[in-house]
């Protein structure tokens, strides 16, 4: 594996409650190499979106924060504890993010052109006209038709798929090294979804992007990911190359996600493959977080949290009773 562009060690994100700070994400280790797509998979509430927000330095405060002892290194530079100014220089410039909801993620009172040009002007120091021309080029790149006219349109005049293309154009405005994509296709219908995924794949290859792709759609994972990390209750429970995990899942949770679906192009959310739901941050027991829902749980699982251990080269599993 080449030198990672993004290296996350021991990342924890916590939220304030009446009972003190509760962890929503715990002990995450992740490496992301250039030209690689890592899929982060899990149900709602598993902490996958929060992991991406933590990388951006956008954990919603003051109720939330990145816990002490966390480390996020981007091209060797530590982002945890960096100043807002330093983070602003990275965000949207070297690391970009696209969000799930194209309907609400764009400012309704600003033209699309102005929203793309804004990032270019801030990070690349281009003048108004140059930024505008560059924005037109970007709209072309993400294949928005009749771009000259559409630059002056407002988001509500765009369809969902077109808005997501605009989001991608904004994200690519400053040629980032890392792209965080938080369920970018979930809100789109199937054909549009395939178009947007194809576009992302092309752009990744052309720009040598490192992509962290967050999704709960296993079909999407099979299509685009090189590696997979499965999250449950704020922890990574299994990670490895996509072929290896799909061929032989080791963690009972992964097994449940895959095993119950004969067809992998199904959505985890829609199927609810495993009875029960992800425990809230404050409701965790002493042992394995998955134990209450786990068909293979033994008494040890209830009392002792399993460590994340290598079971094969590049393959990690957090389980006392792996398959």
């Amino acid at each position: 594996m080449t030198e990672p562009v993004l290296a996350i060690r021991n990342l924890a994100v916590e939220f304030r409650s009446r009972d003190g700070w509760l962890p929503a994400v715990r002990g995450i280790d992740l490496d992301l190499a250039p030209n690689e797509t890592l899929a982060l998979v899990g149900e709602s509430g598993s902490g996958k979106s929060l992991t991406a927000l933590a990388i951006m330095g956008l954990v919603p405060g003051p109720a939330g924060r990145i816990a002490a002892g966390s480390s996020i290194r981007f091209e060797g530079e530590e982002l945890v504890g960096a100043s807002e100014k330093a983070l602003d220089a990275v965000r949207g410039n070297r690391i970009a993010m696209i969000f799930q909801e194209p309907m609400t993620a764009l400012n309704p009172t600003m033209t699309v052109g102005a929203q793309i040009a804004e990032a270019i002007r801030v990070h690349r120091g281009l003048g108004r006209d140059a930024a505008w021309r560059e924005s037109e080029r970007l709209l072309d790149l993400v294949k928005v038709p009749s771009r000259r006219r559409r630059m002056h349109d407002y988001p509500h005049q765009f369809s969902g798929g077109m808005r997501q293309r605009v989001m991608i154009a904004i994200a690519l405005a400053c040629r980032p090294r890392v792209l965080l994509a938080d369920e970018p296709t979930t809100a789109l219908d199937v054909t549009i979804q395939a178009q947007v995924l194809g576009l992302l794949e092309d752009l990744k290859r052309e720009h040598g992007l490192a992509v962290l792709f967050i999704t709960h759609n296993l079909g999407v994972v099979a299509l685009i990911a090189d590696r997979v990390a499965v999250m449950y209750a704020g922890e990574i429970v299994e990670s490895g190359r996509v072929e290896a995990i799909f061929a032989a899942p080791k963690h009972p949770y992964t097994l449940g996600l895959l095993g119950s679906t004969l067809r992998i192009d199904r959505d985890i959310e829609a199927l609810q493959p495993i009875p029960g739901s992800v425990p809230a941050p404050g409701a965790l027991g002493r042992g394995c977080a998955f134990a209450p829902r786990c068909p293979r749980a033994v008494s040890r699982c209830e009392t002792e949290p399993p460590p994340l251990e290598a079971v094969a080269p590049g393959r990690l599993v957090r389980c006392w009773m792996p398959a």
Binding site: F15, S17, L22, P60, V278
Partner: protein
Amino acid sequence: MTAEAVAIETVRRRRSAFRFAAAPLTWIGAALIALIIVAALLAPWIAPYDPLEQSIADRLMPPSAEHLLGTDSFGRDVLSRLIHAARISLAVGVLSIALAMVAGCAIGITAGWIGGWFDSLVMGALDVLMSFPSLLLGLMVVAMLGPSLEHLVLAIAITELAPFARVARAPTLALKERDFIEAGRALGLSELRIIVVHVVPNLLGDVVVVASLWLATAIRTEASLSFIGLGVKPPTPTWGGMLREGFETILDAPWLSVAPSLAILATVLALNMIGDGLRDAVDPRLRRD
């Protein structure tokens, strides 16, 4: 909403509930209002003088041990008038709100129950009514009817019909379709009986909150109309009327203007403090502004 967002939202909500319970403003307001109500109820016993008794020799005296808030241009004791005026202000406020509540709810329930074009017509008319400022509407009504206590109550009640009608209509619409209403019809119960037994109890909570929110506005409107000279006729003391009289001698006897000003301000502020806390705690739908 993701679970993270839910978690954050829960934390926020808990804190806001906590803030209401601990909100000192709400309790200060409640204490202040309790004090004013007690003073109004006990007025004949705690007021040091007869509020109507004139004494030419004692006119326009500044505050002293004998007359704590001084005397007005007829030599009447300002403190005694202030205490007695609380009765009028509270009575007009409560009566007009009660009238608005009954009439407004009746309109709202009828509109919701009948539905269709009748509903659209009534609610459209109420929207127009609501877009009129309380003071101007009250002023028009009293000006046309002539000033008196009854007309004052009626005018203020008209200005505050619309919010009650609205809050009564929505649940009526929802309840109309429910099974137990159908069952009542099948049993041959009269429409009126169904409404009284099943609909009215369901609105009560919301209606009481609206009443508490609009009481401050009612009292402010009463004071404003009295100040313009459209209130209860002299010599009966009202805060707005006292300010109107005091204002005529503001250069010689400023205390005559200050005392009723503070009384009005304290009452309205206290009611708003309670209303604000209630609104934050109960329901964002019932916002006035």
